[in-house]
């Protein structure tokens, strides 16, 4: 997945100027043409066409402060802010109260971010500073507040700290890029001297990749599930041959390579990535270490779905994908065996199958360097995800015991709570708009700041929906954003988590939507379906619910003619939306 710089630059040249291209502005205080070209090329090669606006060299403040600047006329969706360490150093040398340099600098940067975000609504991709030690004090500089070595680390820290509470700012870890470079150098003094380029050509592809990782995450592309092989992937040796006592884990053989890898996977799970097993083994043999082995880090409760049998892996992966109901392109398959990897790649081109190095000690660092799990949000709900999917898998297995689906649904004892957006939910709601691709009528992506704005805006009515049943609480599963237009309520956003499909939630939400319209004295509801490559499943949804087509993918519902649909979901504590 790593490209050569010239491949990127040539791909960039071929991007056609289309209306729907993503608009990215690049503001830098060093020469950034090649960086911009590399990002554009990276996007093109990943099927994500980008339009770039590049401010003239060193125009950051002018572009940001003038309301009518080219920057704002470009209407950027993301702004890349790249101030280089070399310029920072010049400023540091002139600065008198050196121990206050970090606060001063970060304040300036955040004022800049704020004004850009306010005027353009764009997210900010803020490059951290390349950390250098000018060795004026040597290592002792780390003990001296007024040294550059100290201040630059502090600046990076303060940027991260401030970004915690800013929904617009996404820091980019340039020092991680630097540490991951396989050949060449990150900063080339000769090149900086002659061309004012602060990142060497050799480092541009990886830098561009990181920019695109963030851009794509902000636009709802993220990995949600890892499917793992067992033998020689999670432990050393073939358990069916050598037995549980002899698999390499912990102190045995190169066992630490595997336990370390498992620890990393467990961290992923705790941040909301669901883990599944797909192994060619007898189920009982395969599960034994998860229950009994003292050095296993991963336990059965960490695994959402455990598939061990002798079927081919592609079929098993399809089965997992259908059961957990996550897009195939959000899944990553990890297997030490090149044969299995190729088979899966061949039969399921959408899934990501990273090549693993032969040495298990390198598994973790290889996967780290791919940065597969970039995300644009993190909420409390993420920690709960494994449990939620586990209950879903349990539910599906329970369902196969019922011949009558309706009977099954009725016995689930489902309850839903609904109400206008509340502050505590903003991050989860924003996340739903970013993550939901299938059941999403218009696929409008919102940041947390956008949601906050909408919740407070009198022109909008909002509703969230939770769902719980006898297996557990699914949390927030659906949202509505309704825009009050002159003669109708317009459905700006209607999306639902795919975990809860076909349970009568659609009926429940649309019933509530009609009630909301009535309460607010609207006779009509207008809806729109914006097709994407992923939301075919809701193409006819409005028609199925009695909306009349008024144009291509545009619909209108006469509220008076709507009769409440049957659903097994009980409303609880439903608040009136004002």
């Amino acid at each position: 997945m790593e490209y050569k710089l010239i491949t990127l630059l040539n791909a960039a040249k071929k991007v056609k100027g289309e209306k729907n291209n993503y608009r990215l502005a690049v503001l830098a205080d060093s020469a950034s043409q090649l960086l911009a070209g590399a990002v554009k090329g990276y996007g093109a090669l990943q099927g994500f066409p980008i339009e770039i606006f590049e401010a003239d060299y060193d125009q950051i403040e002018i572009q940001a402060s003038d309301e009518n600047s080219e920057l704002y006329r470009f209407k950027p969706q993301a702004v890349l802010l790249f101030m280089c360490t070399q310029r920072l150093y010049e400023e540091f040398c002139r600065f008198t109260d050196k121990h206050l340099f970090a606060e001063y600098t970060v304040n300036k940067i955040f004022k800049l971010q704020e004004i850009i975000n306010k005027r353009s609504n764009a997210v900010i991709i803020q490059f951290l500073f390349e950390e250098i030690n000018d060795c004026i004090f040597g290592n002792y500089g780390l003990k001296v507040q007024a040294s550059f070595a100290f201040q630059i680390k502090k600046i990076n820290y303060l940027i991260m700290e401030k970004s915690v509470n800013s929904s617009a700012c996404f820091p980019l870890d340039i020092n991680n890029v630097k540490s991951k470079m396989k050949e060449g150098i990150f900063f080339d003094p000769s090149l900086y001297c002659s061309s004012k380029m602060a990142i060497s050509p050799a480092a541009l592809p990886l830098t561009a990749k990181n920019v695109m990782d963030i851009v794509k995450a902000v636009n709802g592309h993220s990995k949600k599930c890892v499917i793992l092989d067992l033998d020689n992937t999670l432990w050393g040796g073939v358990i069916g041959d050598i037995g549980m006592e002899n698999i390499e884990l912990g102190e045995l053989g190169i066992g630490h390579a595997f336990t370390d890898f498992q620890m990393w996977l467990k961290q992923l799970k705790e941040r909301g990535i669901i883990l599944c097993i797909c192994s060619k083994n007898d189920e009982e043999t395969a599960k034994e270490p998860f229950i009994k082995h003292a050095d296993m880090v991963l336990r059965l409760e960490d695994i959402t779905m455990f598939v061990a049998n002798w079927e081919d892996k592609a079929s098993n992966i399809r089965h997992i994908q259908k059961t957990v109901n996550i897009g195939m392109d959000s899944m990553v398959f990890i297997d030490d065996n090149p044969f299995e990897r190729n088979l899966v790649r061949d039969l399921i081109p959408e899934i990501i199958v990273p090549d693993l190095p032969a040495d298990p000690a390198l598994y973790k660092c290889c996967l780290e360097s791919l940065n597969l799990f970039e995300t644009a949000s993190f909420s409390q709900n993420d920690r709960e995800r494994t449990r939620q999917y586990q209950t879903e898998v349990g539910r599906i297995q329970y369902m196969s015991d019922f011949s009558d689906y309706r009977e099954y649904i009725r016995k689930l004892d489902m309850k839903s709570k609904a109400g206008p957006f509340e502050k505590s939910m903003f991050s989860r709601i924003a996340q739903l708009t970013l993550r939901s691709n299938q059941f999403n009528m218009r696929t409008v992506r919102y940041s947390e700041a956008d949601i906050e704005r909408i919740a407070a805006d009198q022109r909008f009515l909002t509703l969230y929906f939770t769902l719980s049943d006898k297996f557990g609480d699914q949390g927030l599963v659906s949202i509505l954003i309704m825009e009050k237009r002159a003669d109708a309520l317009f459905i700006d956003t209607f999306l639902m988590s795919c975990r809860v499909l076909k349970r009568g939630m659609e009926e429940f939400v649309i019933n509530s939507m009609v009630e909301l319209a009535k309460t607010n004295q609207y006779d009509f509801i207008e809806g729109e379906y914006i097709p994407t490559s992923k939301n075919q499943m809701v193409k006819n949804l409005y028609a199925e619910f009695g909306f009349q087509a008024t144009g291509a993918n545009k619909y209108k519902l006469d509220v008076k003619k709507y009769s409440q649909r049957e659903t097994q979901i009980q409303g609880e504590d439903t608040y009136d939306s004002e």
Binding site: N10, K13, A31, L34, E183, S190, C193, S194, P201, A202
Partner: protein
């Protein structure tokens, strides 16, 4: 490495960099002959040459590269210098 070999490899790099398979470089080929050969692409071109030949050119040399003939000379000088001072690298270069 003979001059011919250098020209051959440079020709390949030029075709790839400027995405044009009709390019045939000679000692006199300069930015005037290739549309996309501007100051920015020059940096990408030099970076690619450095990487392919396993050499590092200094600022003055880069600034003095006016045509392909200059590039060939610079490559020759640096490959030689590298092979004298660091014989281990020669394998990589040749």
């Amino acid at each position: 490495m003979t001059q011919n070999e250098i020209y051959e490899r440079l020709n390949k790099i030029f075709r790839e960099t400027f995405d044009d398979d009709s390019i045939e470089v000679t000692a006199r080929t300069s930015a005037l002959d290739i549309d996309d050969w501007d100051s920015v692409n020059h940096i990408a071109l030099v970076a690619e040459i450095e990487q392919q030949f396993g050499i590092k050119l200094d600022v003055k040399t880069i600034a003095g590269l006016n045509n392909v003939g200059d590039i060939v000379k610079a490559v020759e000088n640096n490959v030689e210098r590298n092979s004298e001072s660091a014989p281990k690298n020669t394998n990589k270069i040749l």
